[in-house]
């Protein structure tokens, strides 16, 4: 989850999120470079003594300041496109979970083995324990095994919602009558939080998502003991 006053990404819990963070750092470096250069040029414009008002052309410099930005754009585009296609790769997930959006809660269905279904409501602020986090805790979390390729099919029973977990770099709209597929792999245990990301009514801000990642053995135990 994000801690107080955090503006940056949450630390990744999946290899694709690591790649996205690295790409963001790369693009930010290019932006810093360009901004510094432009800022320097603006500052020197205030203090230089050049007075030739009738400059008409300078072919060499025009070629330079066209080629260099084109090169910078390619420098950004290549990893961007690489990542874009990487995010859509599909590798036969081991587990399929259905996540249905309702007004105003999520429900999860694990129908691969047994018919497991449960609702996931936000814990109201007045019912929180001292060490629980406000507005993002739920009563029943979505449990997934670690290091396992998981597929989530997202849909809705009423209006459009959106299911997302930023630490796993996944987001998909939950649209009634439609199935949207997300695949991810969680590479560390823990809790990963998200919030509904499509306006869906009065309690849109109060239907969070919590993914709990545990070892495969614990997951199997949980499945077998689910009631």
């Amino acid at each position: 989850m994000s801690t107080w006053s955090q503006l940056s990404f949450q630390d990744s819990a999946s290899p694709l999120m690591e790649e996205l963070i690295m790409f963001h750092d790369h693009a930010m470096l290019v932006l810093t470079l360009v901004t510094t250069l432009v800022g320097y040029i603006i500052l020197t414009m205030f203090s230089n003594k050049f007075i030739d008002r009738f400059l008409l052309e300078g072919h060499l410099i025009e070629v330079i300041w066209t080629v260099i930005p084109a090169f910078l754009l390619i420098f950004i585009a290549l990893p961007s496109l690489h990542l874009l296609y990487l995010l859509d790769e599909y590798d036969n997930p081991s587990l399929t979970i259905k996540s249905m959006g309702h007004q105003w809660y999520w429900s999860y269905e694990y129908s691969d083995f047994l018919d497991i279904e449960f609702d996931s409501y936000m814990i109201p602020s007045k019912d929180l324990e001292d060490n629980q986090f406000r507005l993002i805790e739920v009563d029943n979390r979505m449990i997934v095994p670690m290091n396992t390729y998981v597929r989530i099919l997202v849909s809705s029973t009423d209006v459009i919602h959106s299911w997302t977990v930023p630490a796993l770099s996944v987001k998909a709209d939950a649209i009634p009558g439609r199935l949207n597929q997300l695949t991810f792999l969680v590479n560390r245990p823990g809790l990963f939080f998200g919030q509904c990301s499509e306006i869906c009514g009065a309690n849109h801000s109060f239907m969070p998502i919590v993914v709990e990642s545990i070892s495969m053995n614990s997951f199997l135990n949980w499945i077998n003991n689910f009631e």
Partner: protein
């Protein structure tokens, strides 16, 4: 401080009044028909009166303007009169024979302001800075008003230190953001914050 500000404003005002076209010798309009043949085309009225055209100026029109980057105007500033014609004749000879007053009169006949006067500071920056700071202070007042009268209290999960401590402990226990975030600042072996 205020006196110098008033003095600067007075000088600027004087210069501007002197150089405004209303105070120059009233220039009779000369109507020259720059018609382009044919009938019914508009006649252009040239307003530079008896002022000699001395160059292209900044756009080719016979208007006077003080500009540092176009030092020679299109027309002289003042109209010619008998007195200035005499000085112009004298100017054709040795300049060392001209007195200081004559040089200045010749200059002012052709130009309104000197370069030093054109480039003199106007003090406008004080007005701009003051206005900007005034606007910023209004924004600050609005923020303070909102803080006192509009916003609700912060929730106790933020204001209650016991709850905050419990939440932080839970974040550490859950290894939240262990790479660069909060759990990365906790030394798990020693059971204390790092550094």
């Amino acid at each position: 401080m205020i006196e110098s500000w008033i003095a600067m404003a007075t000088v600027t005002g004087t210069l501007l009044r002197r150089c405004s076209r209303l105070s120059a010798a009233a220039a009779p309009l000369s109507t020259s028909a720059r018609a382009l043949g044919g009938g019914g085309l508009p006649t252009v009225v040239e307003r530079h009166g008896n002022r000699m055209v001395i160059g292209y100026g900044f756009n080719g029109e016979p208007n006077y303007i003080d500009r540092v980057d176009y030092p020679i105007p299109a027309v002289r500033f003042k109209e010619d009169n008998a007195q200035i014609k005499v000085l112009r004749e004298k100017e054709r000879g040795d300049w060392k024979k001209l007195t200081k007053e004559e040089v200045q009169e010749l200059y002012r006949a052709t130009f309104c302001r000197s370069f030093a006067e054109m480039q003199a500071p106007t003090g406008e920056w004080k007005l701009v800075l003051g206005g900007t700071m005034l606007a910023c202070s209004i924004a600050v007042w609005i923020y303070l008003f909102m803080k006192v009268f509009v916003y609700e209290k912060l929730p106790d999960t933020i204001t209650n230190p016991e709850k905050v401590e419990a939440q932080v402990q839970r974040m550490i226990d859950l290894r939240m953001n262990p790479v660069q975030g909060i759990a990365s600042e906790w030394d798990y072996e020693k059971g204390q914050w790092k550094n």
